[in-house]
Amino acid sequence: DTAVSQTPKYLVTQMGNDKSIKCEQNLGHDTMYWYKQDSKKFLKIMFSYNNKELIINETVPNRFSPKSPDKAHLNLHINSLELGDSAVYFCASSHDDRGSGNTIYFGEGSWLTVV
């Protein structure tokens, strides 16, 4: 009965490789997000999608490309990985209504290490 699930949980890869992280939510939410948490635990939004449409696109290198095939899925593809991409990537979702106040529900995180 996992609400927001993302795979893989751990990923170790070499510089220059291309990798993807998948995310699915079964909460029926309209909006999905990708957040990046750095080594100092700082959490920053990267992208948000609403019903497959890109809504928020922060200043993220274009090596990062989100893809939303439907409103329950938001995948993150990263090209030409760099050492600085090492971080924890969190997928999240929310329901857009005044009653929930845009409360965000997070997945368990994907620990990416680039060597």
Binding site: K41, N50, D96, F106
Partner: protein, 115 residues
């Protein structure tokens, strides 16, 4: 634009002692406020939220927070902590409930409980 400041990066507390984690925000419009907890190697879990109404909000695990509009604060409290409360705590603010509303997170406070 809104911002969130968590004044303490670390808070050490003895078991069964009370604790307060401080959070201040800045925004020119009305806000929604959240506290999330992150246990080691896990995702973020919602502790509590303020959307409107009573300024004292009760959450899970015995935590509560008080919204103070004049001081632009949303401090988190627990009267008696347990070892299991050891975690990173994040305060967050949003100015809306739509998919275009960004949720901004503070830099986190690490709560460490000493036996």
């Amino acid at each position: 634009a809104q911002s969130v400041t968590q004044l303490d990066s670390q808070v050490p507390v003895f078991e069964e002692a009370p604790v307060e984690l401080r959070c201040n925000y800045s925004s020119s419009v009305s806000v929604y406020l959240f506290w999330y907890v992150q246990y080691p190697n896990q995702g973020l879990q919602l502790l509590l939220k303020y959307l409107s109404g009573s300024t004292l909000v009760k959450g899970i695990n015995g935590f509560e927070a008080e919204f103070n509009k004049s001081q632009t604060s949303f401090h988190l409290r627990k009267p008696s902590v347990h070892i299991s409360d050891t975690a990173e705590y994040f305060c967050a603010v949003s100015t809306g409930y739509s998919s275009a509303s960004k949720i901004i997170f503070g830099s986190g406070t690490r709560l460490s409980i000493r036996p």
